[in-house]
């Protein structure tokens, strides 16, 4: 190649440095490749995601009000495949202390070096501080000046004294006296005191930032880089670790001027944005959506009658009344989270208006009639007296025709997922489903009487709570920073609109065209 003639030191330098550079991809890349290569053995991402979400909810529920560790930790033992946004720690890192308590880490003999980087993790939360301390098992000679008390003993002392404030002070003093950051990660969301102390302490090293999240990520990533290097080459890793640690220890804030600090800080901010930390990665995956769905509402009526010989009990009630679909709509706000490359999880709040039309006749005067109810204790049906001013055009006599509207006003919390079926350039095709716990806060209900001759207005018969299912498929068009979603949707109500004691069962469903506008955060 002609390049050979042109290669000078500069190009060689670039090539060398670029070849030294490698990054560990996230596991999702492999899963996507696997799915593509083995379509018949697709990773059950839906099931896994649902399991994952359930687990998160369960963990969140169980830990509500307690202190929690802020990093994802699994005990399977390898570090190698962890992407930037995921820290997996070896089994030896079992000393996870909550609320300032301490437990001794399990040591396993014969473990590889990289599986034993962290020996102890201590998390705590007070009224003023959240912090996580990760103590390293890196060779002691790298930190010659690190002597006791170590973080663990600080935590143990704290446990004895039950004094969190002292822990903070002690940890701060420990960091200060030992000039470490790579081994100690602090989350300090509620107060900046500790961060600023560290600022003064280790100058402009990469972990220094006003943003504690970045601090934490930077610290953890340093450790992870070491692990990765060790995986590739233990000797090189040791050298690298030594160099890096020395660089950190030798950092002298007095040697750097303010301009350099500002530049560094500016870069850190940009770098953190480009390589989003776990805490911020969600921003890239999260989007919000506004949508509206004009829909046509249908319904299917049935009866649940026992021991009654009324006309209501005989035959298909749908054939005994004159009814036609009505127009309704839904509008909502939602959050979409890209849980996987193809899978989006979503949740939101939604308003629904449903409407169904019944052809009836206006009676000249109120007439006495009955509706059929079921006795909850015996299950037998009985007639309850009501009055009516509208008649069934099929059976009744009326002075003038009138249209009755069975309407409901609903608020629901749809939770579901969208699965990307295919994509081409700026167009994606999704299929999705939602479960919608729904509260009915108003509406009108016109019930057919037992003799099928009249309609009785009975708004109180509407169930306050119900469950709806939504099924949709839509095309997602990328329009700059916005995504436009268009596609058909079917919404089906699982339980009857009416309360259980009514012999009439109504199962409405709506078919609509959903228009949504999505934008990322």
């Amino acid at each position: 190649m002609e390049n050979e003639f042109y290669t000078d030191e500069f190009e060689q330098f670039l090539k060398e440095k670029s070849d030294q550079f490698s990054m560990y991809p996230s596991r999702r890349v492999w899963y996507s490749i696997y799915n593509n290569l083995h379509p018949s053995r697709r990773w059950p991402s839906v099931v896994i995601s649902l399991f994952f979400i359930s687990s998160l909810i369960l963990i969140g529920y169980l830990n509500a009000g307690e202190n929690s560790i802020t990093r994802q930790i699994n005990t399977e033992g390898t570090f190698i495949n962890a992407p930037d946004e995921q820290i997996t720690v070896s089994q030896s890192m079992s000393g996870i202390n909550k609320g300032g308590t301490s437990s001794k880490p399990k040591k396993q003999q014969g473990q590889q070096i990289y599986s034993n980087v962290f020996s102890d993790v201590i998390t705590n939360e007070t009224d003023f501080y959240d912090y996580t301390i990760v103590k390293s098992n890196r060779p002691v000679h790298l930190f010659n000046n690190v002597t006791s008390p170590d973080v663990k003993s600080i935590a143990e002392t704290a446990e004895t004294n039950n004094n969190n404030e002292n822990v903070i002070q002690d940890v701060d003093a420990y960091i200060k006296s030992n000039q470490i950051f790579a081994d100690v990660a602090i989350l300090n969301k509620k107060n900046k005191v500790l961060s600023s102390k560290m600022d003064n302490h280790v100058g402009n090293s990469t972990s220094i930032t006003d943003n504690p999240d970045e601090l934490n990520v930077s610290s953890i990533n340093n450790s992870k880089n070491i692990v990765s290097s060790q995986t590739a080459n233990n000797n090189k890793a040791q050298e690298f670790t030594l160099q890096e640690s020395k660089a950190v220890i030798n950092a002298n804030p007095d040697q750097e001027n303010n301009t350099a600090k500002n530049e560094e800080k500016a870069w850190i901010e940009n770098y953190a944005f480009e390589n989003k930390s776990p805490a911020k990665k969600w921003k890239g995956r999260l989007s919000y959506q506004v949508y509206v769905t004009p829909a046509v509402n249908y319904r299917k009526l049935s009866t649940k009658v026992k021991g009654s010989a009324t006309p209501f009990a005989n035959g298909d009630i749908n054939h005994s009344i004159s009814q036609k679909p009505g127009f309704g709509f839904e509008a909502g706000l939602g959050l979409n989270y890209a849980a996987a490359r193809r899978l989006h999880v979503k949740a939101g709040v939604q308003f629904n208006y449903t409407n169904y039309n019944i052809s009836a006749g206006q009676a000249n005067q109120p007439v006495a009639t009955t509706i059929l109810l079921n006795d909850p204790s015996t299950g037998f049906s009985y007639s309850a007296a009501r009055t009516s001013t509208t008649s069934n055009t099929f059976n009744g006599t009326a002075s003038r025709p009138v249209t009755l509207h069975n309407r409901t006003y609903q608020i629901s919390l749809p939770i579901g997922f969208g699965y990307k079926l295919s994509s081409e350039n700026n167009v994606e095709w999704f299929a999705g489903a939602t479960v919608q716990p729904t509260y009915y806060f108003g509406g009108k209900a016109h019930l057919i009487s037992s003799d099928l001759k009249s309609y009785v207005s009975e708004p109180s018969s509407i169930n306050s709570f119900n469950l709806n299912l939504g099924f949709e498929t839509y095309m997602n068009f990328k329009l700059g920073t916005y995504n436009l979603q268009v596609g058909p949707q079917v919404r089906y109500q699982l339980n009857s609109t009416y309360k259980k004691n009514l012999a009439l069962i109504e199962k409405p469903y709506a078919i609509g065209l959903k228009f949504g506008l999505t934008k990322g955060f």
Partner: protein
């Protein structure tokens, strides 16, 4: 798993062999993609598409050169194809006035030199960094680059010259390299 085992396994569409091959080469290949991509996520997309091609074209590998080199070529071509789909890229590749280009130098870290250099390259305008990546690092000739990017060979040369001087300037400013006298090659070209 040895390279031979991986290769034979991949030819049989064996998932374990494929994963082993992926695990062995993906970190370095992601580094390659990252130099071409806008961000990490784009780089991962390139890597994914590239490895799918690698596995689906495995039967074309003749065992004549290093496997890594073969994979790397596929990955680079994938990166270029993805970039070419982007309108910004075609706009960027035609830029001829280097003086009007602003480098986002604040993006360049100072943690480690390799990372620093890569970030410096990435800070260059899209067209520049693509040509520089292909020529200086991947070793393609200007003729090959011109063919790959659908541009004139002279455009590739001028893009590279500008990219190189711009990068040198940044590296010197960042104190990664020292300013040296410009060398000329045997033909008197840069």
């Amino acid at each position: 798993m040895t390279e031979e085992l991986m290769l034979s396994g991949c030819l049989k569409n064996n998932a374990t062999a494929q994963e082993a091959l992926y695990n062995r080469f993906s970190p370095r290949m992601l580094g390659v993609c990252y130099r071409f991509a806008k961000n990490r996520e784009d780089a991962e997309d390139m890597l994914q598409e590239g490895f799918i091609k690698v596995f689906s074209q495995m039967h074309q590998y003749r065992n004549e050169g290093a496997l890594e080199g073969w994979i790397r070529r596929i990955i680079v071509h994938t990166c270029i194809n993805i970039l070419k789909k982007n309108k910004k890229f075609s706009d960027s590749i035609d830029i001829t006035n280097a003086h009007s280009i602003h480098i986002r130098e604040e993006m360049i870290p100072s943690i480690m030199q390799a990372k620093q250099v890569v970030e410096c390259i990435r800070s260059l305008p899209l067209g520049y960094k693509t040509v520089l990546n292909l020529y200086a690092i991947e070793g393609y000739s200007h003729k090959e680059i011109a063919f790959m990017l659908d541009i004139e060979e002279s455009t590739s040369r001028s893009q590279y010259t500008r990219a190189k001087s711009m990068l040198e300037e940044v590296l010197v400013r960042k104190k990664i390299i020292q300013k040296t006298k410009k060398k000329t090659n045997f033909f008197g070209a840069v």
